[in-house]
């Protein structure tokens, strides 16, 4: 792990780091990832489930309904003419 990699990952994750933070997270992540090398000693296994239990598809009738009122959902949102406000794209 090096500071440049930490900064690249942080940029990808939309987090800005000060120099002090970049150094500190670099050391922390380096220590943690070194410890994770323990996994190299773990036995092989052909199975790789996504969930710890078997999950099957359970389907139901597709019935249109309004579960929550749109105005209720918008009440705490920053909106403009009932559209959620966000940053500009360019």
């Amino acid at each position: 792990m090096d500071v440049k990699t930490v900064r690249d990952v942080a940029k990808f994750a939309h987090i800005a780091l000060t120099d002090e933070e970049a150094e500190r997270y670099c050391k922390d992540l380096g220590d943690i990832l070194s410890y994770f090398e323990l996994l190299n000693e773990a036995p092989e296994c052909n199975e790789r489930g996504v969930n710890p239990i078997k999950v099957e598809d359970v389907v139901r009738e597709d019935i249109p309904k309004v579960e929550y009122d749109a105005d209720q959902l918008l009440k705490d949102m920053d909106t403009y003419e009932r559209y959620v406000r966000g940053p500009r794209l360019s």
């Binding site: 990952v9 990808f12 994750a13 410890y35 323990l38 710890p52 598809d57 959902l73 705490d76 940053p87």
Partner: protein, 442 residues
């Protein structure tokens, strides 16, 4: 303490112990049959829900989590949302954007995490039940540190609808209480299928009939690295179990030592994607500078409001998912999860449960926690993580007190969907265990 007394004194109780992030203003129980609290990562229509994070400050959901909805329908009154590590990221409930709950047995010590406020409320308030959420040990750890009973059921047993996710393949909603008998009583209410959470739809019936625990297996890997006092108290508790007619065997479960790194890879990978939705739009803080460009706006809000540990886990999870590293370690972590499940299944063919102390030490002082590195803190989870990664139900009971009066817990792990045998052993244990309640003053 009657329900009236609890409600009238709620602010004073919270002033001393800091278990609640949000509380009811209602001083009257009305026709409530019982009072309950819920971890603050479960949505509630009448109280702010922040999951311990400043980024969600001001979020007032318009719906209840299924587990809260079910307790209300059963006559419960929600009295507060409990403090926790931000999004569940911690072992001591000290990684919070808000208040840090204090241990009922010593206010200078932690409650454990991440459901620390829930365990604190269950310990301090009589006849109280609190909903906790476990991803890597966040119910049993605080239950152990606060001297109460806690169960994390099988993954999928309780609907996760309305839960603010940490790791979707790991999160489980459970119950914490002073009374072992409460665990079954309230789990029966919140368990069950819910079409709003597909992972809850495959569960078999919830078994509640008494089923005596005949034998337990103690893995050698589960009794390494303990403090001297926890080791001695656990040995006494094992002898007590033996005298109750439970057969004890010592076994090898070598896969357990790989569970911790596998857990942190899976959990942070899932967390880093789940937290991508918090960008200063729709809920929580929405005070970003709209003159900024798209990416800069998101970065500004996330940088200001995510806490230190949240950032660390986002960075770790983002890194482990990246090409190269991800292909190697993420896939391996998924394999290890299956190896741990297979090991549990093998041992549980001949035993009703796997047993070990819940935590390797008693609740640490805040000063000592502040000196721990991130890795030290992660390593402290080595006893609770295996059952969580396997999705197997696990239950912590208080089993003794150290020389400073701090509680010690032990944790039983059963096979998937076998919560019944855990309830039975906890209720049998409760009948003969001398529970020392903390001296509660407000």
């Amino acid at each position: 303490m009657s329900m009236n007394d609890v409600l009238r004194n709620l602010k004073a109780i919270n002033g001393r112990y800091q278990m609640f992030h949000a509380m009811t203003d209602d001083a009257e129980p009305g026709d409530a049959k019982f009072l309950f609290s819920a971890k603050d990562n479960l949505t509630s229509y009448d109280m702010e829900t922040c999951a311990g994070s400043r980024i969600l400050e001001g979020y007032h959901p318009v719906f209840d989590a299924t587990s809260i909805e079910k307790l209300r329908k059963a006559g419960g009154k929600l009295i507060g949302k409990t403090n926790m590590d931000e999004f569940g990221f911690g072992t001591f409930s000290t990684n919070s954007g808000f208040e840090i709950p204090r241990n009922p047995y010593d206010l200078n010590r932690a409650c454990g995490g991440s459901s620390g406020g829930s365990a604190c409320a269950a310990s301090v308030i009589e006849d109280h039940v609190s909903l906790g959420v476990s991803t890597g040990g966040s119910i049993c750890c605080p239950a152990s540190f606060c001297g109460v009973y806690g169960i994390a059921p099988t993954y999928g047993r309780v609907s996760r609808f309305g839960l603010i996710d940490y790791g979707n393949s790991l999160d489980k909603i459970g119950v914490i209480s002073q009374k072992a008998t409460d665990l079954k009583k309230y789990m029966e209410i919140i368990a069950g299928k819910d079409e709003r959470d597909p992972t809850s739809m495959v569960q078999p019936d919830f078994k509640t009939a008494y089923r005596k625990m005949g034998s337990v297996a103690i893995p050698k890997e589960g009794i390494e690295g303990l403090s001297k006092e926890v080791d001695a108290i656990f040995k006494e508790a094992v002898e007590q179990l033996r005298s109750m007619g439970v057969d004890i065997d010592y076994v090898d479960m070598p896969s357990l030592r790989f569970a911790m790194p596998a857990y942190y890879i899976l959990a942070t990978s899932e967390a880093s994607t789940n937290l991508a939705r918090y960008v200063g739009m729709r809920y929580g803080h929405q005070d970003g500078d709209h003159t900024l460009k798209f990416d800069d706006y998101f970065t500004d809000v996330r940088t200001r409001y995510f806490g230190d540990e949240a950032k660390r886990r986002i960075l770790l999870g983002t890194f482990t998912r990246m090409a190269g590293f991800g292909g190697r370690h993420y896939a391996k972590a998924r394999e290890v999860r299956q190896v741990v499940i297979n090991d549990y299944k093998q041992v549980l063919k001949d035993h009703d449960a796997v047993l070990a102390p819940t935590m390797p030490f008693t609740a640490p002082k805040f000063d000592d926690i502040s000196k721990m590195s991130a890795l030290d803190s992660y390593k402290a989870d080595y006893l609770t993580v295996p059952a969580n990664i396997a999705g197997t139900p696990h239950l912590s009971v208080p089993c003794g007190y150290d020389s400073e009066g701090m509680p010690v817990g032990m944790q039983f792990v059963a096979d998937h969907w076998n919560e019944d045998v855990l309830f039975s052993v906890a209720e049998d244990w409760e009948k003969q265990f001398d529970l020392r309640r903390p001296e509660v003053s407000i």
